[in-house]
């Protein structure tokens, strides 16, 4: 993956396949901690402990006819190479939360990329799913929520 926005698209597609009706994406720049925190959470099917232990294995997949499941391992690699980490937590029937961290000053941190294109692909491709996006950092906060009827706030 070239940038983080493509990872977000990839993980969100997982959530859609897990039958989520709400997907929340949060990106937070914490300059004082030299940290970029990226959280993708959904209210989909979730995973049990057994599956959760296997999601970091690139040769684990839930799909028939496939031998690899690279989405989360690639995101983990991106986080690790930028001095960060990946945590996945999940509760069956309630949803899954993927939290990736990156060191902002790390030379190997991937660029954020085109978040608009990612949101557009998700929202336009899946009008049956609600999305909430929030980014915050030194420039302020942006919130976008498909459940609101009024236009988003800056």
């Amino acid at each position: 993956m070239e940038d983080l926005s493509l990872h977000i698209l990839d993980i969100a597609e997982n959530a859609i396949r897990a039958q989520a009706s709400l997907i929340e994406v949060e990106i937070e720049e914490r300059l004082s901690e030299d940290l970029l925190v990226m959280i993708i959470s959904d209210n989909g099917n979730g995973m049990g402990q057994e599956m959760l232990e296997q999601v970091h294995d690139p040769f684990f997949t839930t799909k028939e006819g496939k031998r690899t499941g690279l989405g989360l391992p690639l995101l983990a690699a991106a986080a690790h190479q930028a001095g960060g980490d990946l945590e996945v937590s999940s509760t069956p029937g309630q949803g899954t939360r993927v939290r990736a961290t990156f060191s902002l000053s790390n030379i190997d941190i991937k660029p954020l990329g085109d978040l608009n294109a990612t949101l557009q692909a998700l929202i336009a491709g899946h009008p049956e799913v609600d999305f909430r996006f929030r980014s915050s950092g030194p420039d302020g906060e942006t919130v976008f929520d498909t459940r609101e009827n009024t236009h988003g706030e800056a």
Partner: protein
């Protein structure tokens, strides 16, 4: 960090609500862009963006654009499946923004399969 512009957000929302109305009617066609990890890494989002722009700018009201996972042939991504009403689905491979526009024109709107990009006809149906 790239900043989201408020106008862009509005545009996305408008596009979304348009897609919502689309979904409620019965479209004449459905185009599924495969967005597994392999597809995304190979450029599926560019294909999706090009397709959405074209559908939007030409005001095509009865074509449903959606995404799904890996189509099972990762080396030929980006891929898309075109389903016309009452016709077997057609899978296209090795796509880019230009090719998907051509497919929209010739196949989806014109009814003629673009054989140069087609992988096969009558493969499995997307759910």
């Amino acid at each position: 960090m790239a900043k989201l512009k408020i106008e862009d957000l509005k545009a996305i929302r408008e596009q979304a609500s348009r897609a919502r109305t689309l979904r409620e009617g019965t479209g004449r066609a459905r185009i599924t862009v495969h967005m597994g990890t392999c597809g995304i890494a190979a450029g599926a989002r560019k294909v999706m963006t090009a397709l959405l722009e074209e559908v939007e700018s030409r005001d095509i009201a009865d074509v449903i654009v959606t995404t799904s996972g890996c189509a099972g042939l990762c080396s030929r991504e980006p891929m898309a499946t075109v389903e016309l009403l009452d016709q077997p689905p057609v899978k296209y491979a090795d796509l880019d923004g230009g090719k998907i526009k051509e497919i929209l024109d010739t196949h989806v709107l014109g009814g003629e399969i673009v054989e140069a990009y087609a992988l096969g006809v009558g493969s499995e149906r997307t759910p």
